[in-house]
């Protein structure tokens, strides 16, 4: 009986030792991968930060209006944020690679899915950034055109253009990420439809006087302008 216990115990210890001996190199490989990954991620961050500073990415971010959003959210500059993002994505990639070396069942698939998801994440960020840039550019263009044409309430036009573009961009981003595609599509349809309906109602009923005033002003002024002595700027 005693011998049997000792035998089982020693067998268990042997198996544990074998398992540990089998696991230790994997653990070491994982630690090496994580360490090397950290170094590579760090180099990537420094390199990317230098490149972004060289191409004055923060200025582009200012133009896109992204810097203002980041400041409001107490986040670092766009250059710093993107560098940090790349650092963490790269390092996380190596950490997951290291974990996959451990051979833990069930994790492999999740890790593979994560790597497949990365390109879509980058594309989504790319779309979001340039979408913000487009929203900022076109809303400003609408504002300037409205002010110079003496259109009433130019900021409403500015806000409408910005909102429509941002909603459109967000719907593309969520579709790219594969997050709640149907929900987003429906939400986009509802928001866009509601916005248009709201504008129509506001202009037709709520803003009846405004519409009347606007149309009168426009047509009456056009007639009056023919007699106005506008100064020639050139």
């Amino acid at each position: 009986m005693r011998e049997m216990i000792i035998s089982e115990l020693s067998q268990a210890l042997d198996e544990l030792a074998r398992g540990f001996a089998h696991f230790l190199p994997r653990l070491i490989v994982m630690l090496i991968l994580i360490s090397v990954g950290w170094v590579i991620a760090y180099v990537l961050r420094v390199t990317l930060r230098s490149i972004l500073r060289l191409i004055k990415f923060d200025k582009l971010s200012d133009k896109a209006g992204a810097s203002q959003l980041l400041t409001k959210a107490a986040l670092p500059s766009a250059t710093e944020l993107l560098s940090q993002f790349v650092f963490w994505v790269a390092w996380l990639g190596f950490i997951l690679l290291g974990v996959s070396v451990l051979g833990i069942l069930g994790l492999q698939d999740q890790i593979a899915r994560f790597f497949l998801f990365l390109p879509r994440l980058f594309v989504a960020i790319f779309i979001l950034f340039f979408g913000m840039l487009a929203a900022s550019f076109f809303s400003r263009a609408a504002l300037l055109a409205a002010v110079n044409a003496n259109v009433p309430s130019p900021r409403v036009l500015n806000l409408a253009v910005r909102t429509i573009i941002i909603i459109f961009v967000l719907s593309i981003v969520f579709e790219e990420l594969g997050l709640a595609q149907h929900t987003m599509l429906i939400a986009f349809g509802i928001v866009f439809g509601a916005l248009m309906l709201g504008l129509a109602i506001a202009f037709g009923i709520g803003g009846r006087d405004l519409a009347q005033h606007f149309l009168e002003k426009r047509f009456v002024r056009e007639q009056k302008d023919e007699n106005d002595d506008e100064l020639s700027p050139l």
């Binding site: 400003r140 002010v147 003496n150 002595d229 100064l231 020639s232």
Partner: protein
């Protein structure tokens, strides 16, 4: 590309040039080859000018018969896609129609050539076409006249040509008799900036009529202004500035009344693109040329430097003030990217003033313009948006100028313009400071 065989050395050179000037049509090149070399070239950029072009060509021919009967002359019409038969009218006007009336005879053939450079008018392409033709024909003196100036006098051609042909100048810009409240973009922005920064007192640096020597035309044609990605709007201004920075001899010639075309308030933004846009763009390229200039010098002028008409005109001051105030209020976020906080605060203060007490001081206007120039150079936002944002502020300046000069005599108006120019000169170090600080 068409090659025509002629044995002379000059033709050989022309053939080489033809290969370079590939943007000219083969038909146009054939016509130029048939003309050969000329002494004088008259350029007419047109677009649907059928109403005026016939009489303008006759006026030009009369002036040539009278003043330059021995010179080989050609009229080049660069047309931007007219649909009213303008090019045909240019070539159909015969010098024989002019001779009996004027009792004059030319000793040389007077050629008229028309080419269609595009389906829509582009001043840059039109000027480039005229310059290329001038170089191919080795013209000694050239004049560009705008068919939109309804009252081209029979002496305009001589006044623009003689300083080049006789006195060896390279560029002749016009001065006009204008109403004191007309051309305010010129008197409140273009003239003072060109004077303060480039150091040359040219009243009409952005001119639709001007004369130039063949050598300066060729030099400008070879500059990288045609393919540098910038809009060709305001190319005439770039032309004048190129003459200044290139050290060419520049003078002014008084032409008489400037019978302006009807330009409405809605035309302000395009006008700003052609003037402020072209000027700010040139400042960027010419920084080395203007940054070291101190003070300003007058240029030789034939006739009066500027004459002002004083009759009263109706100005909608209420609308100008309203558009200025609305612009300052609504474009606050845009101005924050362009203007310094102190300038913006001062603009917001005057935007609250009523029309009777409205005052946009010269110093504030100069600071505004300089900060816009620096913002344009650094592209803090889209450059076209910078120019568009200037429009409401310019309206404010117009209102202030109108109030200041409503009952002023010609001398008083001149003194006020002179005061503004001196303010631009005085604050030039401020421009240099913000120009460098933004780098």
């Amino acid at each position: 590309m068409t090659r025509l065989n002629k044995g002379t050395r000059g033709t050989r050179r022309t053939e080489i040039k033809l290969a370079e000037e590939s943007f000219l049509t083969d038909d146009f090149l054939r016509q130029l080859i048939n003309v050969g070399e000329v002494d004088i070239l008259v350029g007419l950029p047109t677009h649907n000018n059928a109403k005026t072009i016939g009489s303008i060509v006759q006026t030009i021919q009369t002036d040539i018969l009278r003043g330059f009967p021995r010179e080989r002359t050609v009229i080049i019409n660069a047309d931007g896609g007219s649909r009213d038969g303008t090019p045909e009218l240019v070539t159909e006007v015969s010098i024989d129609d002019v001779r009996p009336a004027s009792n004059l005879n030319a000793l040389r053939t007077l050629h008229s050539i028309s080419t269609r450079y595009a389906t829509s008018p582009e001043s840059g392409v039109a000027l480039r076409t005229i310059l290329a033709a001038a170089e191919l024909l080795r013209a000694k003196a050239c004049v560009v006249l705008s068919p939109e100036s309804a009252n081209i006098d029979s002496e305009w051609l001589s006044k623009l040509l003689l300083p080049i042909y006789r006195d060896g100048f390279d560029l002749v810009t016009p001065t006009y008799r204008r109403h004191k409240l007309e051309g305010l973009l010129i008197t409140n922005l273009v003239y003072p900036i060109v004077r303060a920064l480039y150091g040359v007192r040219i009243r009409e640096a952005y001119a639709s009529e001007f004369g130039f020597s063949g050598r300066f035309g060729s030099q400008f044609l070879g500059q990288n202004v045609w393919n540098d990605g910038t809009d060709s709007a305001g190319i005439e201004l770039r032309f004048t500035l190129a003459a200044i920075t290139g050290g060419y001899r520049v003078c002014q010639s008084f032409l008489g009344d400037k019978d302006h075309i009807e330009r409405r308030g809605a035309d302000l933004v395009p006008a700003l693109r052609q003037t402020a846009g072209a000027l700010f763009s040139a400042l960027d390229a010419d920084f080395r040329a203007w940054s070291g200039v101190v003070g300003s010098q007058p240029v030789p002028t034939t006739g009066a430097e500027q004459k002002l008409l004083l009759e009263s005109v109706r100005v909608n001051g209420k609308r100008l003030r309203e558009m200025f105030s609305t612009g300052v209020a609504e474009l606050d976020s845009v101005f924050q990217s362009i203007l310094s906080p102190s300038t913006l605060a001062e603009l917001q203060r005057i935007a609250r003033l009523q029309e009777e007490e409205f005052h946009y001081p010269a110093e504030l206007w100069v600071r505004t313009v300089y900060e816009f120039a620096a913002a344009y150079q650094k592209s803090v936002i889209s450059r076209d948006h910078v120019i568009q944002a200037l429009a409401p502020l310019f309206r404010g300046r117009v209102l202030a100028f109108v109030i200041e000069n409503r009952n002023a005599s010609a001398d008083d108006v001149e003194n006020n313009i002179e005061g503004l120019c001196l303010e631009f000169e005085r604050l030039k170090p401020y421009l240099l400071q913000i120009w460098k600080s933004r780098e």
